[in-house]
């Protein structure tokens, strides 16, 4: 290129960049600041409410929650089909992909608020939530899967089934110990082994479940965060051997894994091969997609899986409506259901329920006021109550068992009394 042309091209690029930076600068709310005006109506017009989402869709780890987006869409579609909330339709922008990357999570939160000017973020489902502080500071009501500490405490952030990270001084959800106790015909005199990954999070999990199972009456014979956290072991014999002799040389009545699917497949296969006949349970493997592979179906056969929402197998009207909504949102196709859809759906549902309660005059302030003291019962996640749900789990759950290639409800969905977490 000739020099003058290059200079011109560079200048044009610079202008384009500046105008790109500037293109979204419409009506300016106070930039980066907190905007202390009493009524925050960002994203709200007379006939619409703008909502965005943040979901991990593409990751290097091969784990994706992208169906969360479909679930949310399904719920918003129904709300709009019913005429919206107080005459306002929900303008759902779809979910930003954060790729499980903290930097992208933050960038997605900032984009939704500062560029797209959404009223709320729902759903937000990821393994990282670095945008939490920003959303809280900008007063953005945010709804999602409460597996991260940011769902416990901040005023504008809500877990769709409560805060799932127990905090000392808070409470522990007893669904799992009580449910397993029911299957075994009572907890007393029964022993359980709990195993987790060798990481700080694994250790914390061990600590909570050890307390939960003990106070439900179990003897915890093995509780170790011992499985390497990065690569799945090719050999489980060391763990199996230790577990199977932990109950005074005998096998425990139940083995509970708080690990992810690939680890569970390995562990459960190894336990079965060494002749273990007791109860197996984990909290992650309720995914009908897993049934597509023969290997997973066999490995997980007989396993009781904990879920903190109504199983897809139950036949309540709520569930029937959920299925119909998902089908409609998927363009009339029968898609296999999974928990990510339910996460998205119920995040949207909690948001809509509070908008409904906030009434005609929707501002962040009126929304927050409506959230305080919000409660309802009999939803797909049981009885919801705020602000309790910003500190504790809603405390409801069920167990399903995989049998001959299909999930069956082994302990029906129910809400349990939580215990104090020490």
């Amino acid at each position: 290129m000739l020099r003058p042309i290059r200079t011109l091209a560079a200048a044009a690029a610079a202008v384009a960049l500046v105008s790109a930076c500037n293109s979204a600068s419409t009506n300016g709310t106070s930039p980066g600041g907190t905007g202390s005006a009493p009524a925050t109506t960002r994203g709200v017009t007379a006939d619409s409410v703008k909502v965005g989402g943040i979901v991990s869709m593409t990751t290097a780890g091969g784990y994706s929650k992208k169906d969360t987006d479909l679930g949310a869409k399904a719920r918003y579609l129904r709300a709009n089909a019913e005429g919206g909330v107080h005459g306002r339709t929900i303008e759902y922008l779809g979910a930003e992909d954060d790729g499980q990357d903290p930097a992208k999570n933050m960038a997605a939160a900032r984009k939704l608020v500062q560029q797209d000017k959404v009223f709320a973020v729902s759903p937000m489902s990821s393994v990282t939530f670095s945008g939490a502080d920003f959303l809280e500071q900008e007063k953005v009501p945010t709804f999602g899967w409460g597996t991260l500490p940011a769902f416990c405490g901040p005023r504008h952030i809500y877990g769709f089934n409560g805060c799932l990270v127990p905090t000392p001084g808070g409470t522990l959800n007893q669904t799992w110990p009580e449910g397993i106790g029911r299957i075994l015909g009572g907890a007393h005199g029964k022993s359980v082994a709990v195993i987790a990954n060798d990481s700080d999070a694994g250790k914390f999990g061990i600590r909570t479940f050890q307390q939960g199972f003990t106070s439900a009456g179990f003897t915890v014979s093995y509780a170790k965060a011992s499985v390497p956290g990065t690569a799945v072991p090719s050999d489980w014999s060391a763990y199996v051997k230790e577990i199977l002799s932990s109950n005074d040389g005998k096998a425990p009545d139940a083995v509970v894994s708080v690990m992810q699917t690939p680890n569970n497949i390995g562990l459960f296969t190894a336990l079965k091969r060494s002749g273990y006949k007791g109860l197996l349970s984990d909290p992650t493997d309720y995914d009908p997609g897993l049934l597509a592979q023969d290997a997973t179906r066999q490995a997980l056969d007989g396993v009781h899986v904990l879920l903190q929402f109504q199983p897809f197998e139950s036949d309540t009207p709520n569930m029937a409506r959920f299925k119909a909504d998902i089908k409609a949102a998927a363009g009339g196709k029968d898609v296999p259901l999974n928990m990510h859809m339910l996460t998205g759906y119920m995040s949207a549902d909690l948001f809509l329920s509070i908008v409904q309660k906030a009434g005609k005059d929707l501002t962040v302030e009126s929304f927050q006021a409506a959230a305080q003291g919000f409660s309802d019962t009999g939803t797909l996640v049981g009885d919801r109550a705020l602000p309790k749900g910003q500190k504790d789990s809603f405390g409801c759950g069920a167990l399903v068992q995989l049998k001959n290639g299909a999930y069956e409800v082994s302990v029906p969905f129910k809400c349990y009394e939580p215990i104090p977490f020490k």
Partner: protein, 909 residues
């Protein structure tokens, strides 16, 4: 005892996969000298393809696996070699590491993107996410057998063992009993010599990459049931198998293979018996990386140590000596504009993005110190960032003010840096990179799992500071503050570079021995660089955390550090301002791409990965490339005429530096000019000028050698004799003039084509492959057994020791070995560079006798010697070379003693 057996048996499963991957690493390393960080990504891509073919398109498992391993994977290796690796072989180690890191992220993204596109097009592919318990080649679910009480195996394990054993045998046959294997081993031994023997290193490189990729593909297919479809897990697996490649010292395939198997077993044993470490959270997780780090420390040869970058020649500084305004004007103006923009044009969103870019830029400048100034590749910068930010957050939660927490955090990172550096500094190049990577993983998995330090998943709040009237919680204020900080750090680093310590650092970088001799402590200098860089990374890290207002232990992982390095090096690592550009691009580019180019999450990743390709052309990064290219073009336009020969040289003129001073005319006194008719000249150099980057060595040399003639070239040290040899053999391109073989212009031919045309060079020292046996050395030139038998008849000493490694022979025997096969099949031209060097006079006479015999067989010989005594007895023609010119040339009987003296004293012209 049963336990032990089980641990060993099942350890052999992952061991087999390590062995396959490590073998590929060694092969590709020996082919092009680069450590392929993307090897695991290749395996992942193959696993993904296998899964889609088998589960998606419904192919039977075995044909799908065969297609992947024998067609797709080698094809990928071949393509990447042609596009990238072959060219990367000529650039510095940093660019090599970074280019393959780019591939590491680009390949999986490309695979997933392809799946996405195919699905959109209606192909029956299956999504690649959330897939577990995937079928391998065997039955799924795997059949299992109980061998004895507590010891069982399943079909997947059995298949892995059997296939790996078959591969081991096949590799052994390939390397030991085929010609291509022999050539590969020769190339590992001495790459340039293989070229001089007419074996194309490029072709070998292709073959090696194809085999390496096929092995990765095989590992991918076999590992599918174990690892599923996680690119991340495949890459972790690769890092572990790097230990096995280290055991094989990146040169020995059998050692690497055995090392891989042993590694799997060792890892299993440690994990199985590590109950002593139960109280240390993360210890078991970290076992592979402990082994990797330990292996590197124990096994790495002390050949090249950290921070020596002989191949990393710095680019020309076209602004050397320019005024401050020319050097810094653009950057200062940019900074000023940015500050103004914060308060005028940019929206809150873009202010935030730019502030983030500036915070990252502070971290990125730490690479300018450690990699740019120190020539050390550190993959642990993410660790320093996390460490500093966690410490600062911890202190702020105890009520410390921001500035104090920042200072302590920075110091903590510096201390961490020194701790990482102390054991790692004796390593060099890729070993140092791998060691820092291992330490980064160790920090992630053990250090940052400490609850008091990480505070669970909550992490620490790092509120933005309020400095007097300035509240940095406003993104614009933070942005301006960061511009000031970035400018200060950039100025500081530039001052450091120009200071005595900076010069000491550069001295250590390019010539540690000389630096040590000048009183510079090499170790202390490197330690200082590493510590400074870690501290700077920590400083930037605390500010980045305060931009985010929170730090959790998983915000910046070892893998983040890897990607950061790639981003910085792609922009340029030698000047701090390039790091700022890299930071801004890193923050802004993804948003611009997704807003204006594509919605796909994969495409930007692919583009980023392909930036590595650009490094093959501009190893100093795009920031440096722009001004350097412009300066070069300006210089070209301002009327410097190109040197006379360059127009006709085509590709070769690119690598040589044209000499603007012009080329002197050929020596008018050259004897051959009246003599030569060119017809019977086997090799002719006409007016050749040639040299190295530092300047010209030959200033118009004319030489002619005919069939059946010995031309002896004499001259003192530094006269240009070896350069003339290399030019004649084609391993050094000419800057001007012409090289003709049998009257044909061969100026543009490289060493391989010259060798194939019958022009062989016996380089200074011994032209043999020391790690190959005598038999194998002979077989490289004489593939037929009968011809080798004839050589053995003639040289019974070689016959007796045919199975011995050539390196074990005496100097005379080695020279004999180099010449013996030539006698059997005389070449057109033999160029011998000091064939008598280091030999006893009697042995030298034997060598000369062999050379005479070659002449009688019709070979044209060009012999270069420093000592005239022996060679004058055999030469037909003699040329004196002095200061890059032929001072005299004529028949031997016209040689006069005083001419000789003149030539040596350099007074002959």
């Amino acid at each position: 005892m049963g336990d032990l057996l089980v641990f060993v048996l099942s350890g052999l499963v992952s061991g087999a996969l390590y062995a396959l991957l490590a073998t590929g690493l060694v092969l590709s390393y020996s082919a092009s000298g680069l450590f392929n960080f993307a090897h695991g990504a290749t395996a992942y891509l193959c696993a993904l393809t296998f899964y889609e073919l088998h589960s998606g398109l419904g192919w039977p498992a075995v044909p799908a696996a065969l297609l992947v391993v024998f067609v797709l994977a080698p094809g990928l290796g071949w393509g990447l070699d042609r596009l990238m690796f072959r060219r990367l072989a000529h650039v510095g180690e940093t660019a090599q590491i970074v280019a393959t890191i780019g591939l590491l992220v680009a390949l999986p993204a490309a695979g997933l993107w392809a799946v996405e596109l195919l699905a959109d097009a209606g192909a029956p592919v299956k999504p690649a996410e959330n897939r577990f318990g995937l079928p391998g080649v065997g039955p799924s679910p795997a059949t299992s057998w109980q061998l004895m009480e507590g010891v069982g195996i399943d079909s997947d394990q059995l298949i892995t063992w059997v296939v790996t054993a078959l591969v081991a045998v096949a590799l052994w046959v390939l390397m030991r009993h085929t010609r291509i294997g022999l050539q590969l081993r020769a190339a590992v031994d001495n790459r340039s010599l293989t070229e001089l023997r007419g074996i194309s290193a490029d072709r070998l490189s292709s073959v090696a990459w194809m085999i390496a990729s096929a092995l990765a593909g095989l590992a991918g297919v076999l590992a599918t049931p174990l690892l599923g479809l996680s690119a991340h897990d495949f890459t972790l697996f690769l890092f572990v198998s790097a230990t096995a490649a280290v055991i094989g010292r990146f040169a020995s395939v059998p050692l690497a293979f055995a090392g891989g198997l042993g590694l799997g077993v060792l890892q299993n044993l440690v994990a199985g018996y590590a109950s002593f470490a139960e109280s240390i959270t993360g210890f078991r997780t970290a076992v592979p990386f402990l082994i990797l780090f330990g292996g590197l420390l124990v096994l790495t040869r002390r050949a090249r140590t950290a921070g020596i970058a002989a191949v990393d020649a710095p680019p020309v500084d076209h602004l050397a000596g320019a005024s401050w305004g020319r050097r810094w004007g653009v950057w200062a103006a940019g900074a000023g504009l940015l500050c103004v923009a914060f308060y005028t044009v940019t929206t809150p969103f873009w202010s935030g993005l730019l502030a983030q870019g500036l915070a990252v830029a502070l971290v990125f400048m730490s690479f300018t110190v450690v990699t740019g100034l120190g020539a050390m590749v550190s993959l642990a910068q993410g660790t320093f960032v996390t460490g500093a930010a966690l410490v600062a957050g911890l202190l702020m939660s105890r009520g410390w003010p921001f500035v104090a927490a920042l200072a302590v955090g920075t110091c903590a990172a510096a201390v961490l840096g020194a701790l990482v550096a102390l054991p790692a500094l004796r390593l060099g190049g890729r070993s140092l990179a791998l060691a820092t990577l291992a330490l980064a993983f160790l920090a992630d998995q053990v250090l940052f799992q400490l609850r008091w330090l990480r505070n669970g998943d909550t992490g620490w709040s790092v509120p933005r500071p309020v400095l007097g009237p300035v509240d940095l919680s406003d993104d614009r204020a933070l942005g301006v503050a960061l511009v000031v900080l970035v400018a200060l750090v950039a100025a500081g680093l530039s001052a450091l570079r120009g200071s005595p310590s900076g010069r000491a650092m550069l001295a250590v970088r390019s010539a540690p021995a000389a630096a040590a001799a000048s009183g510079v402590s090499v170790l202390r200098t490197k330690l200082l660089l590493f510590t400074l860089s870690a501290g700077l990374a920590g400083f930037g890290g605390v500010l980045y955390a305060s931009y985010n207002t929170r730090i959790t232990a998983t915000d910046f992982t070892a893998m983040t550090g890897l990607v950061w390095l790639a981003v910085v090096v792609a922009a340029g690592v030698r000047r701090p301002q390039y790091a700022v550009v890299a930071g801004l691009v890193y923050a802004v580019a993804p948003r611009l791409l997704s807003d204006y180019v594509t919605e796909s999450a994969h495409l930007p990743v692919i583009l980023f990965g392909l930036a590595g390709l650009a490094l093959a052309n501009d190893p100093d990064g795009y920031c440096a490339a722009v001004p350097v290219r412009r300066a070069r073009r300006r210089a070209a336009a301002s009327g410097t005429s190109p040197s006379p020969g360059s127009a006709s040289q085509g590709v070769h003129s690119r690598r040589s530096t044209p000499d603007p001073s012009g080329v002197p005319l050929p020596n008018p006194r050259a004897w051959h000019a009246s003599h030569s008719d060119g017809a019977d000249a086997a090799l002719e150099l006409r007016g050749v000028t040639a040299g190295y980057d530092g300047g010209l060595v030959l200033h118009g040399v004319d030489l002619v050698v005919r069939r059946g003639e010995i031309l002896a070239v004499l001259g003192p040290n530094g006269a240009g004799k070896s350069t003339a040899c290399r030019v004649a053999a084609g391993s050094l391109p000419v800057a001007g003039g012409e090289v003709r073989i049998r009257g044909r212009d061969a100026t543009g031919d490289g060493a391989v084509r010259r060798a194939r045309a019958g022009v062989l060079l016996a380089p200074e020292g011994r032209g043999i492959f020391p790690s190959l046996t005598i038999e194998e050395n002979l077989a490289l030139y004489l593939p037929e057994a009968a011809a080798r038998a004839a050589v053995y008849d003639r040289f019974p000493r070689l016959a007796e020791r045919r199975g011995v490694n050539a390196g074990a022979l005496s100097g005379g025997e080695q020279q004999m070995l180099a010449l013996a096969p030539l006698l059997q099949r005389p070449p057109e031209v033999l160029i011998a560079d000091e064939p008598s060097l280091g030999l006893a006079p009697r042995v030298a006479q034997e060598v000369y006798a062999l050379l005479t015999e070659l002449r009688d067989a019709g070979t044209a010989l060009l012999l270069v010697e420093e000592k005239a005594a022996g060679i004058l007895g055999v030469a037909d023609t003699v040329a004196y070379l002095s200061q890059g010119r032929v001072a005299w040339c004529g028949p031997r009987d016209e040689v006069e003693a005083d001419r000789l003296t003149d030539a040596y004293l350099g007074t002959g012209t």
